[in-house]
Point group: C2
Chain length 349, copies 2
Amino acid sequence: MTTFDLAEHPHLRYNPLTGENVLVSPHRAKRPWQGQQEETAAEQKLSHDPNCYLCAGNKRMGEEINPDYEDVFIFQNDFAALQDTTPEGSYEEDELIRVKAERGICRVVCFSPRHDLTLAEMEVSLIRKVIDAWQEQYIELGAKDYISYVQIFENKGAIMGCSNPHPHGQIWAQSSIPSEVAKETFTQEKYFAEKGKSLLSDYLKKEQKLHERIVASNDSFTLLVPFWAVWPFETMIVSNRHFGNMTEMTDAEKDDFAAIIKTATSVYDKVFDISFPYSSGIHQTPTDGAYPGWHFHMHFYPPLLRSASVKKFMVGYELMGNPQRDITPEVSARMLRELYENTKEEPVL
Amino acid sequence: MTTFDLAEHPHLRYNPLTGENVLVSPHRAKRPWQGQQEETAAEQKLSHDPNCYLCAGNKRMGEEINPDYEDVFIFQNDFAALQDTTPEGSYEEDELIRVKAERGICRVVCFSPRHDLTLAEMEVSLIRKVIDAWQEQYIELGAKDYISYVQIFENKGAIMGCSNPHPHGQIWAQSSIPSEVAKETFTQEKYFAEKGKSLLSDYLKKEQKLHERIVASNDSFTLLVPFWAVWPFETMIVSNRHFGNMTEMTDAEKDDFAAIIKTATSVYDKVFDISFPYSSGIHQTPTDGAYPGWHFHMHFYPPLLRSASVKKFMVGYELMGNPQRDITPEVSARMLRELYENTKEEPVL
Ligand SMILES: O=P(O)(O)O[C@H]1O[C@H](CO)[C@@H](O)[C@H](O)[C@H]1O
Ligand SMILES: O=P(O)(O)O[C@H]1O[C@H](CO)[C@@H](O)[C@H](O)[C@H]1O
């Protein structure tokens, strides 16, 4: 009789942050590897592109002209999904037809005037400026009485719906707490109420002991593949210290956060020798109250599976049933960690 | 002072089947329409392709040779994500590391030996044979003591991760109830316990009165855009009568189900004048007990937004926060309904 083996047999892993499961099918990774293996030629990019609506001095989609910015530049999204002028309103016909007006603000954050860089290619000191900007935005937007949550995120690469390669992210701040954040709030506050410690501190302690899914770390942050990761190369940056949001970060922590973001993104670029696409997002405390259980972290969800051109499709079964993955989190973590070990020997920018 | 208007202002809509929200940003649909408008030339397909591993008489990925099948052909997925040989096992180190072995069966359902057809192009009488096969599979797989749920689904189009255009779907049957189904079970059983009627019967009644989101209907089924739809052209087929699964369908209902599937898929093909990609899936009662509240339905999640080549990206904000859409369900429903009205005048195959 065979015994159950995580590295061999299909199984469900529970995500304690969302309360949901992922179906892991390790044996499927044995499918013939049909994806491409060649190095993809990097496209030539200008450091300033006259046709880019995010480059300094250029005209945007609307009428506005970008200033001659030097590091980070933030403006209101010209096609914002949320507006601060939305009038209040709601109706609940009954349980079945329920609507609530949603007020908010959408901004675009250009990480650098250099059109041809990515976070992976930026100097840590310049990533640090992005972090300062994120912190200021979190404070400014979170202080508004009608804002309950500030979502900072980046869509990188055309495959992630990003049509402009100029390094940039977005911030959507809104009056409700969005679904994913609500799930993480529920689980983290419950855990903290029961144990007096944060869920992610306890989880991190376990991972530090096992060292099977940790990719890299510094004094303030750990980069790891969560046990319950859904995307083939999903990772999470967790703060070593338990704090809820960016306002609580020390200066040293902000430097370390910049450094670990550089590590994460540059390791990614080595996976398939291309500028690795992903969506990333910072999860931190909602701004409408006190959340002692919340533990600051950042998710990276990269879509690729087998090569620069073969992605993981979250489709029929995943949409109707359950997220599913083939390669195990442990295998991905080992790949990323080995790439990191190699990276370390290279001179730092 | 402006008053809140569903067709104008950003808002959250509640999905009573899953308990989650979708952020609707109607004004974003006013963005300049940059997608392509041209008719996409349909690719020439052979009725039997010697290189297709799903065509009759051909060799599959493994060693096996497909039989000379005449209508529907079902076989075990050669790279199944679930296996019926998985040994039992689980461990719960504590709340944070929780795993359960998952046993199951994955099958492929070829809808027709004709390589060049899709459900939209098949005669209703031949779609009916697919439905008979689905019903048999649901009964056979659901009867196994280690199976709790039978997920029938289709990924159509390369954009939905389907690499073979031969008309086919899949069935994944497994020992747990997957996340999406668990949510729908919770909400539907709760509603039924409280009201003695199914959630979807009450919802359908509302939609029939408003007639704003209904696309088409026949004696047994209604095709509509749910009030809480996430994907730009998402639809749902709901049975007019409250029953939980395919075993309860009458002969006439099976014919009507075939007809409404033909309607749904052929209306879709008119949206951008291409064979419309989607993932579809049937949601029905889990097979591990009695679920009096469950109401049979089928979801269609098409990825396209603006043209044959511009899809809706569910990325940064959607993955970190909340599903989001631009075009309102009412606008999509009107488009689909008008296309349906035109279709009706064409001679039926
Ligand atoms: O089983 P297939 O067709 O190879 O694979 C397709 O459908 C599966 C079920 O939705 C997904 O897990 C895969 O990502 C997708 O490419
Ligand atoms: O706002 P953008 O960059 O135009 O749009 C991109 O990110 C948004 C937020 O994740 C998504 O809603 C869009 O589907 C995506 O294309």
